[in-house]
């Protein structure tokens, strides 16, 4: 697609529920990133995929958070047993190759705003 697409744009759920957030990167981009932006903060790194594999998941806060990218394109961020503290905007970004090459920049989506009541 022309840009990075994220769905849903907004999600309201109850504490303890399971949620999935989807990211559709730019076609052909091998690198995909998830960031979390809490209210009044800058984005914080969660996980980085190179192709189908998670190259760096050091930012995932705990084992309730999991992400997959089974075919190397669309990615899903999964949150189990949601807590009020999980409320945030979840941003996805992609790049042609990993930004660790230094030459590439990230294209971000508009994010999914998650509200846990």
């Amino acid at each position: 697609g022309a840009g990075v697409s994220q769905t849903p744009s907004n999600k309201v759920t109850e504490k303890g529920k399971y949620v999935e957030l989807r990211c559709d990167p730019i076609s052909g981009h091998t690198a995909l990133y998830w960031y979390r932006q809490s209210l009044g903060q800058g984005p914080e790194f969660l996980i980085y995929f190179q192709g189908t594999g998670a190259a760096d998941d050091s930012g995932l806060p705990n084992d309730r958070f999991f992400a997959v990218r089974p075919e190397g394109s669309v990615s899903t961020l999964k949150i189990q047993r949601t807590e009020r503290g999980d409320s945030a905007v979840y941003l996805c970004a992609s790049s042609l190759i990993g930004i660790n090459s230094g030459a590439n920049v990230l294209t971000f989506g508009a994010g999914s705003r998650l509200t846990v009541l």
Binding site: Q41, G42, P43, F45, V89, G109
Partner: protein, 114 residues
């Protein structure tokens, strides 16, 4: 660990004026990248400008320029001839060379007044 500090939570300037946003960072690395991102109400982060630490020359992109002071670990953004469309959150960010994580500051909310 690297940190990025933006000391101005909010700023307002009149249209057509010049405004400077401050950013300092802390790192023991010698080779890294610095960025300024813009986040309008649409929430999409947009890269404004980037600077490689090994380059002494300050980066410029049209009305946007930076003042990179490596020894002082300072990386300010200057917006010249500000426009209403510049109204947004601006985030300063850091990335180590050959790393895959960008570390963001808390942001500065910039209002351009008509």
């Amino acid at each position: 660990a690297q940190t990025v500090t933006q000391s101005q939570p909010e700023m307002s300037v009149q249209e057509a004026e010049t405004v400077t946003l401050s950013c300092t960072y802390d790192t023991s690395e010698n080779n890294y990248y610095l960025f300024w991102y813009k986040q309008p109400p649409s929430r999409q982060m947009i890269l404004v400008i980037r600077q490689e630490a090994y380059k002494q020359q300050n980066a410029t992109e049209n009305r946007f320029s930076v003042n990179f002071q490596k020894a002082a670990k300072s990386f300010s953004l200057k917006i010249s001839d500000s426009q209403l469309g510049d109204t947004a959150m601006y985030f300063c960010a850091f990335m180590k060379h050959a790393d895959d994580k960008i570390i963001f500051g808390k942001g500065t909310r910039l209002h351009i007044l008509p």
